[in-house]
């Protein structure tokens, strides 16, 4: 879940909790005591009403009592007034509400005292005993609206409006806050990704805007870091390039000197000179590859691109590699091919495929063949190169594409690798936004190069 929604959600949870706590406090410390007070005063009132009724019926007779009860009924707030005898006869008032009050009436008769019953959301009931001159027992029953503290949010349109207003304001402002916090973070994240992809010139402070908070400092620190990394890497790359370049001049001189020595040397010296020439050639290969790699790794370079018939390219490289492999009793076979085209730089793609293929030829056992398969999916073209060289330990698979990474040093030196071929292949494939990966097979290594097909490639058909 992204930061924006998280912040919004947190706000909503917080708002709900605050609301709940406020409600609890108000109810406990304000509504509840008020309610008890109202209950007490209602009971006192009932006692007075009951006493007064008894006095009136004794001094002024039944007519006086009727007048009193009628007056009682007209008082505010509106109420129902009934007078019921102890055997259930209604002496005054209507018969309707008596059913609900039966329990209250019997309680009053038993205790001979006023009783008040406040049940929430129902009407409040009060009952008080009244004694007639003849000694017969009656109960005065009063029924009225329960007094209620008006709810702040619920129960009225104004309350709901308040609630809606609060939530809406909260959501709007919280969204703004979330946006304010998350947008610079997103920008910094984008920049980090770009930097990770090799765009060392990425800077972010300007995009974060004119703020003076931790996020702005983070952006500034990011820029400082990026600048430092850029400087370091650039100077390191320049160093690699310069060293490689400078190494070539003495190498060139050495080659010529070697050849002059050859013309003057006796036959016994020739094998040593051959060896010297071979080593010088290897040094030269390594320098070329280092230069290629450092050029590719800088990543920002724009390569000339054109549409390439991948099937032809693969065929051409495979034939060249086969020619070389046959000299060592190995071979290269194309086992599957399909018409497909990619957009890219032919030289780079050629060197990628060539390096992987030559690597396979180098390691595959004598008498075996390296197989090449070109297949295509709906959007991708896949080149799989499988050798029979025993593979590499699983934990080494991912490291294969690192410059100068060697699985078995001794063996590799014997086979004449420079340790840069696969690194070059990876960089070249990456420059085409493709992917390269290695897997172990039963008795060898399989390397897959996946590229995006150019539009307008024809459907699969086997050549």
């Amino acid at each position: 879940m992204n930061l924006f929604f998280k912040l919004l959600l947190w706000f909503l949870v917080t708002a709900t909790l605050v609301f709940g706590v406020m409600y609890f406090i108000t109810w406990t410390f304000q509504t509840q005591p008020m309610f008890s007070r109202v209950q007490r005063s209602s009971r006192n009132q009932m006692i007075i009403y009951g006493g007064t009724a008894t006095q009136i019926v004794n001094s002024e007779g039944e007519d006086g009592l009727r007048t009193f009860l009628s007056r009682l009924k007209d008082l505010e707030p509106p109420r129902e007034v009934d007078l019921v005898s102890d055997d259930g006869k209604v002496w005054f008032g209507t018969n309707e509400e008596i059913e609900d009050s039966q329990e209250l009436i019997s309680r009053t008769l038993v205790s001979n005292d006023a009783v008040v019953d406040f049940s929430p959301n129902e009407k409040a009931l009060g009952a008080a005993p009244v004694t007639f001159p003849d000694g017969s027992k009656y109960v005065l029953v009063l029924q009225w609206e329960t007094p209620r503290a008006p709810s702040f949010f619920f129960g009225s349109w104004l309350g709901y409006l308040r609630l809606a207003g609060m939530l809406l304001t909260g959501v709007v402002f919280c969204s703004l806050l979330a946006l304010y916090l998350s947008s610079p973070i997103r920008k910094i994240r984008d920049a980090t990704q770009k930097l990770a992809d090799g765009d060392l010139s990425t800077r972010v402070a300007d995009k974060v805007g004119n703020r003076r908070d931790e996020l702005a400092y983070l952006a500034r620190d990011f820029d400082l870091m990026a600048e430092r990394i850029e400087k370091l890497i650039t100077s390191q790359k320049r160093l690699t390039r310069d060293i490689s370049h400078e190494l070539r001049s003495p190498l060139a001189r050495m080659n010529v000197a070697l050849e002059i020595a050859r013309t003057k040397a006796n036959p016994e010296t020739q094998p040593v000179l051959d060896r010297l020439e071979g080593e010088s050639q290897r040094l030269n290969d390594m320098i070329s590859r280092l230069l290629t790699l450092s050029k590719l790794e800088s990543g920002s370079q724009d390569f000339e691109r054109s549409t390439i018939d991948l099937d032809f390219l693969v065929k051409e490289i495979a034939e060249d590699a086969d020619y070389e492999a046959r000299a060592n009793g190995k071979s290269v076979n194309i086992v599957a091919s399909t018409k497909c085209r990619v957009m890219g730089n032919e030289t780079l793609l050629r060197s990628a495929i060539e390096n992987v293929l030559r690597n396979g030829v180098r390691y595959t056992k004598e008498g075996t063949a390296v197989t090449v398969a070109l297949t295509n999916g709906s959007r991708e073209a896949r080149i799989s190169i499988v050798d029979h060289g025993g593979g590499v330990p699983d934990e080494e698979l991912a490291k294969l594409f690192r410059p100068f990474h060697r699985v078995e040093e001794a063996r590799d030196r014997g086979t004449g690798g420079t340790g840069l071929g696969l690194a070059i292949a990876e960089q070249a494939v990456r420059a085409h936004k493709g992917s390269i990966s290695a897997q172990n097979t039963a008795d060898g290594l399989r390397v897959d190069i996946v590229l995006t097909q150019a539009d307008g490639s024809k459907g699969p058909h086997v050549n």
Binding site: R248, A252, N255, V256, Q281, F312, Y323
Partner: protein, 229 residues
Amino acid sequence: MGMNRILIIDDDEELCELVSEYLTAEGFETECVHSGDKGLERAKTGEHDLAILDVMLPKMNGFEVLRSLREGSNLPVIMLTARGEDSERITGLEGGADDYLPKPFNPRELLARLRAILRRVEGREDGFPEKMEVDDIELSTSARAANVAGESITLTSVEFDLLATLLKHAGKTVRKEDLSEMVLERKLSPYDRSLDMHVSNLRKKLGMRPDGSERIKTIRSVGYIYTLV
């Protein structure tokens, strides 16, 4: 025939000395120059049969020297490309170099290419008829001159031989292996694209046919063919 005079233009004095020693032992006469402008001046005198030109030169680089030289001279040139970068190779060949060698080079390779170019220039027996006419192209072997639609075009010696070979077999595919041996006088080695580059330069110089079709077609993985209408 006297000794061939080779002009070496390279700012690496020690390398010049060594190459000079090597070539002298092989029967050439050499002259070393260590800067581009001086080299250009010497090359223009016409005292030399071939120039070995380094790309990385102070003041005036190898490409500039070559461009200026080509304005009035057909002196065969082998370029030494320092970085071995493809863009440099192509620029070198387009600028009219007869061949290129990435530095550091094998001196035997240099010698072989040098001799091949000299043989070609001196008009060895290459089996081409004196006059060849195919389509609107006219070749005059002894003068090593080429005309397309009546207009003269400038070809390097490699390009001339390449065109002559393709025209001689016009309508038939010539295998890359054969072309390499006949024109470059070396076996086609895997991963060597110089032949392709020479062909590509030749195509640019010849242009399309009036009807817009390509004169030299590539038969992928096999060779090239000069198509007949």
